[in-house]
Each structure stands twice: as C-alpha cells, then as structure tokens.
Symmetry: C2
C-alpha cells in the first residue's frame, strides 16, 4: 500500500513570506508548488492596483484566505484617527474586490499615548468600521501582537485583550487571529483560545528562533524553534476551527534564498511540524 498523499489542502502562505516575488511570481510559484491558498499582503498590489490583482487571482486556482492588513487605529489627533477609519473602510472594499471575506487587523500603537487610552482608540476604530464590514460581508480579525511590538505596532498584546474587545463589540463580523509567534508565551493562551470559540477566525504559524537576531524579520520555519505548534493547533481545532493554516514568516535569511526552494521547505515543515 502506498503512503498517503501528503495533505496540503489547508495550507495557506502569506505573500510576505515570499516577499521578493511579485504577485505574478507568487501565483505561478504557489500553483506549481501545490499550495492551494494565500493570504495577500497589500504591498503585493500597491503598484498595479487591487483590480488587476483580483483579476490575476480569479484566473488562478488560488484561494484568498484573507487580506493583510487593516487596523492601525491609534493616533495622537482625532483627524488621524478618522483617516484610519476611512482607510479601513477602503481596505474592506479591497477585500470584496479580491473575493476574500476576512481581514486581519494589526490594531496599531503610537509611542507616548498611555496604553489604556490606545486600547480605547482601537475599540472606537473597530466599532466605527464594523457596520461597513457587515454590509460588505467581510469579517475582521483582531490579531494580538507580541508585547515586543507594543510600542509602535499594536497595543493589543494578549489573546485575552482581543477576546475582551470581541465581547465588548458583540458582532458576528468580529473575531480574533491566533498567531503562534505572537502568543506562544501567553500563560492564558489555552483557556483564551477556548473562550474565543467560534470567533476564532484564523490561525498563523511560524516558529521562534533561539537566538532571535532581528526583532522583526527573524522568524523561523516551523520545527526550527521552541514553539509547540501541534499543541496550539490542537487547542485551536478543539474550538471547531477547520480553516486554512497560514504560514507567515518574516525572515531576512529566507528572503535571500531561492523562493521556490523555500516553498518546498515550507511544505515539508508544514507536514512535519504543524
């Protein structure tokens, strides 16, 4: 009897993972590698626009799991905060054009504003754009970011904080993203994943390298680091989650390598360590 075919049907890769590639190269490369889905980063259509990107993706067999990223709701001035809301409404429209029903929110952080005040700004920003998301039938997922990004990327740094926001706004269109890189250390991760339940909208994987050489762009391939990804995946799936499993790796090291070869390593790591 032959070994079972490796199952990559739920494998999704974030386009930033293969940052050196253009969108056409991504579509071609992922298709050749048998990767069925991608999460698209906005940088990958900033040159030629979302409409052309949507056409290319419709012509491919690739599924667009989600759009990365909305958010960045914090700012010192009310005018900048209103601008951020408008920008998020525009991103929701882009998701519709791209044919995906999910946007990941990196909520934002502005050095110098007290964190509780920033979290109020974030809640206010999400509340303001939720009606537009509902009309567009696009879900928004709050992604808690690692506390090392609390200064300038997100003031939401634990799953409990994200769940609290979902509870407060009480909408079927708002949920959370679990990224093992951001949350693996969180002492209440297991119970908060259980609490998220049906509002757990997406799941990101990579690994934590020891030593980490760059605070932003040194994520490791699954299996190269210290994160117990299968344990976290089991907690995630215990909620009933059966969506795509999204590989999101920012890595100066991997970006320097041949991206087609890197895709093969990702597939192998996904099959072995997730």
């Amino acid at each position: 009897m032959a070994a079972p075919l490796p199952d990559c049907s739920r494998l999704c890769i974030h386009s930033i993972t293969t940052k050196p590639w253009s969108l056409p190269e991504i579509i071609d490369g992922y298709t050749r590698a048998g990767v069925p889905a991608l999460t698209l980063w906005r940088m990958h259509y900033e040159d030629n626009g979302v409409i052309e990107a949507a056409k290319r993706l419709r012509d491919s067999a690739l599924r667009v799991t989600s759009l990365c990223r909305g958010g960045f709701f914090t700012a010192s001035s009310a005018r900048d905060r209103e601008h951020a809301k408008d920008e998020n409404r525009r991103i929701i429209d882009e998701a519709v054009v791209l044919g995906t029903n999910l946007i990941v929110l990196v909520c934002g952080a502005t050095p110098g504003i007290p964190l509780p005040e920033q979290r109020r700004q974030i809640l206010d920003g999400i509340a303001a754009v939720l009606p537009h998301a509902q009309t567009a039938k696009v879900r928004l997922a709050i992604e808690p970011l690692h506390p090392m990004y609390a200064d300038s990327r997100s003031a939401v740094n634990t799953l409990e904080q994200a769940n609290n926001m979902v509870t407060a706004l009480n909408s079927d269109w708002l949920g959370v993203t679990i990224d093992v890189y951001h949350l693996w250390w969180d002492p209440t991760l297991k119970s908060e994943i259980e609490r998220a339940g049906r509002s757990l909208f997406s799941f990101h994987v990579s690994d934590w390298r020891t030593p980490t050489r760059d605070i932003l762009n040194d994520r490791a391939l699954m299996g190269e680091g210290c994160i117990d990804i299968p344990a976290i995946r089991a907690w995630v799936e215990h909620t009933g989650f059966r969506g795509d499993i999204e590989v999101e790796i920012f890595s100066n090291t991997y970006w320097e390598q041949d991206q087609a070869g890197f895709l093969q390593r990702i597939k192998q790591a996904y099959l072995t360590h997730v």
Copy 2:
C-alpha cells in the same frame, strides 16, 4: 533662594550599565559622579573573585543594593537542575560576602521544554534554595522578564506569574523585582504591583526605544522611549516601597561611548524622567 539640590540619594546603577569599566573603574566613576549605590553583576568579579570585590566595595562609600543574578533553574536533566540549585546557594554566599541582602533571580528558560513544566522547575528550584537564603538573611527577588526572552532566559514573563510563585512559597525571603522594560506593556501591571505589596523588593528603570534595533542590547535612557516611568514609579511607591531606584541599561550604543559622560546623562535622565 537657591534651587533645591538634585536628590540622587536613591539612585542605584547596575554595573552592567557601564559594562566597559572594571570594578575599580566603576567604584571610582560612580563615586566621582555622586552615585551612592550599585547593583553588582557577577561578571564584574569573575576575574579577581568575590572577596577582593567585597574588600574594594567596603573601602568605598558605595552601597550594594543587590547582586545580579541568580536563577536559571530550568534544565532538561535532573542533574543540571541540581547543579543550578548548588550554584544559587553559592550566589547566596557571595551576597553575604558582598554585604548585600538581595539577589535578583532571572529564573531561566530552556527551549523545547513546555512552559508549564519549566515553571514547575523554577518553583522547585526556588523552594530548594530558600532555606539557605533565610539562614543567610538574603532575600530573593523573582524578576519577570519580557516575553521576548521566554525562549532562553525566563519562563516567568508577567508580574502575575511571579506573584503567584511568591504566594505559593509564602516566605518573607521571597519577593519580586519590577523592571519597567520587561513589564511596561503588561495589562495587569498596576493591580499586580498593588498585589505584590511588601514583597516588592526592587525596582529597575530604563526605557523602550522605537525602533528597537537589538533584542538584547538596545535599551534606552529614561525619557528616550515610550515607557511612562513616573506612572509606574507611583504605583510602586504606593505599596510603601522606598528602596533604591536602579538604572539597568544594556546598550551597545552607550557602551561605545565615554562612560563618565554616560553617567552624567543617567543622572540627568533620572532626575528628569523617573
């Protein structure tokens, strides 16, 4: 009427902050700068031994606020964990020689061991050395480390976790260290500082630089970053804490500069931003 003399009576500097200096240079430099206290890092007596260091310090007017650092209780083998306990008993003896009654514990982390198991190892390690600490009249302070150090430095990453350990072991000789760099993002920081109460043994300051260029050695001088240090100091002092305020800065940038000039900048930052 003359302006009040700047009050540096509670200013303590960690010897690693001026890492390029030898212990004699530290004693001379801090004394000239009017810094009344230091927390001594073990590296500063590894060449000439603790007895000579103790003699030099006794001959100076400097107060030794604490000894950095004990801990590192986690390990894959029972033998290595026993070795760590022995090492901590030795560090307690060194504290006695140095004439300080406080040791900071960086509790340790070992990639690949599940975090809950590591925390059990840490609790077991502290419990094993506490009787020796009590006999020596040396207090042990658990320092929660930033979650970006959860892989290889400490599996204790929130003040709640540290407080839980203090509660569990219930000894007057065990408490916590609050370091603003490690804990500023912690959503329950204020309430957990209040909970720590009289077991709040020491207080470390520095600042979080945006962007942070190195995960270990890019701490900023107070006032250069996004941490609201006066707010955290107020919470700390609300518990009744009146101990030294310890400046602990790991910085490749500052280590390259003239250390006497750096000390003057530290004093100014302490008087202005703490």
